[in-house]
Subunit: 203 residues, 2 copies
DNA sequence: TAATAATGAGAGTGATTGCTCACTCTCATT
DNA sequence: AATGAGAGTGAGCAATCACTCTCATTATTA
């Protein structure tokens, strides 16, 4: 039956095509016929697998939510928090490696987070399954470091934002200002983590 | 002729209505008849003032770009950078005051930055007239502080991102996770600036 | 007051949209 | 060979869209 991750080959073709088209033209700006063309199937085939156009978007969201690759970015960050040392290059590098995968998904994430605001169930799912888990996962080791007195007692949620937002901001900014800046990604991440750490470490 | 800032009363009514409708439904998700209804004008009237629906969006962008209120947020940040002390409450407070105005504009900014990716001229205008000026305005005093040795020698652009992204991230996050968190906005901004500062100040 | 411009109301247009449905194709089972 | 189930097709439908046109009414200006 050609299934993988609960999706048939045709369904996967359609979803991949939809991601491509939605990313370039936005959800409302895309047409089902474009998606069909990109997927190499008839328009009618789309509606045999997805009840509505919005159903395609929801399936994309489900695919992203069920894909833990995304959450993986928080693991190396947790390492950095626990070691309290950005110099541990190996871990930093793994962040970069992960984030290159994530970076290619930045347009998709932008799409989902933006379009979700028009569809409350989707918004809730994004918040509950992606935003909050990441925040919690990162907050926990921060609180632990605070309890030992190694980190300052700022609000843990704000500390998490301070850590995460610049990394994400850097990736987003890079997408529409390809500031050539003779600096590689690894060095950039290292500096961003450094700035955060030395603002967090007590003394 | 009823002009103010180059816009007649009718044009202003239409633009205000369009901002409201676009913010709620997105650009492609909105219809000109909705905008007309919200503005209390006939649909045909819209097209007497704007050649196309996209023309309305472009006028909104022009209005935002010509409105320096937005850039004002960088002034108090520059103050913080120059003083190197977030405790200077008066200045922090003025950031908050400004940012409350800005915060109400967050949905509009999200709209413009998102929709602009589908319209290259608009994207370029946003980058050249908003993003880059803000970055430059904030980078300059950072570089000055670096030259005196008071700030560490990280890449100035990254330092700017580290400063700006958490503030923006906090505002955006607050919009779809109304984390009641018994913390007022002023305290939040103070802590975010603190975290940044003590990661930037040498020693 | 007369002339001119702006607007409201709303029907109309062609193009496009999301979606349907009658039909075909494939292929395993009978 | 006959059957049935399910995937795929694409012409076409009803609705909607951005946009136009007309014309009576109101507001502005000379």
């Amino acid at each position: 039956m050609d299934k993988a991750l609960g999706l048939t080959k045709t369904q996967k073709k359609i979803i991949d095509a939809a991601i491509k088209v939605f990313s370039v033209k936005g959800f409302e700006g895309s047409t089902t016929s474009e998606i069909a063309q990109e997927a190499g199937v008839a328009e009618g085939t789309i509606f045999r697998h997805f009840s509505t156009k919005k159903g395609i978007l929801q399936s994309i969201l489900l695919q992203v939510v069920d894909n833990y690759q995304l959450l993986d970015i928080s693991d190396p960050l947790v390492e950095v928090i626990e070691r309290g040392d950005s110099q541990s290059q190996s871990k930093v590098s793994s962040i970069i490696t992960q984030s290159q995968e994530v970076m290619q998904q930045v347009p998709l994430l932008k799409l989902l987070f933006y379009e979700a605001q028009f569809h409350p169930e989707m918004q809730q799912m994004l918040v509950e399954r992606i935003t909050k888990p990441i925040l919690e996962q990162i907050k926990e080791p921060i609180v632990k470091q605070q309890s030992t007195g190694y980190y300052r007692n700022y609000n843990a949620c704000l500390m998490t934002i301070s850590l995460f937002a610049p990394l994400l901001g850097y990736l987003v900014l890079k997408q529409f200002i390809p500031e050539q800046e003779n600096m590689d990604e690894e060095e950039a991440f290292k500096q961003l983590l450094d700035i955060w750490l030395y603002g967090v470490i007590n003394q």
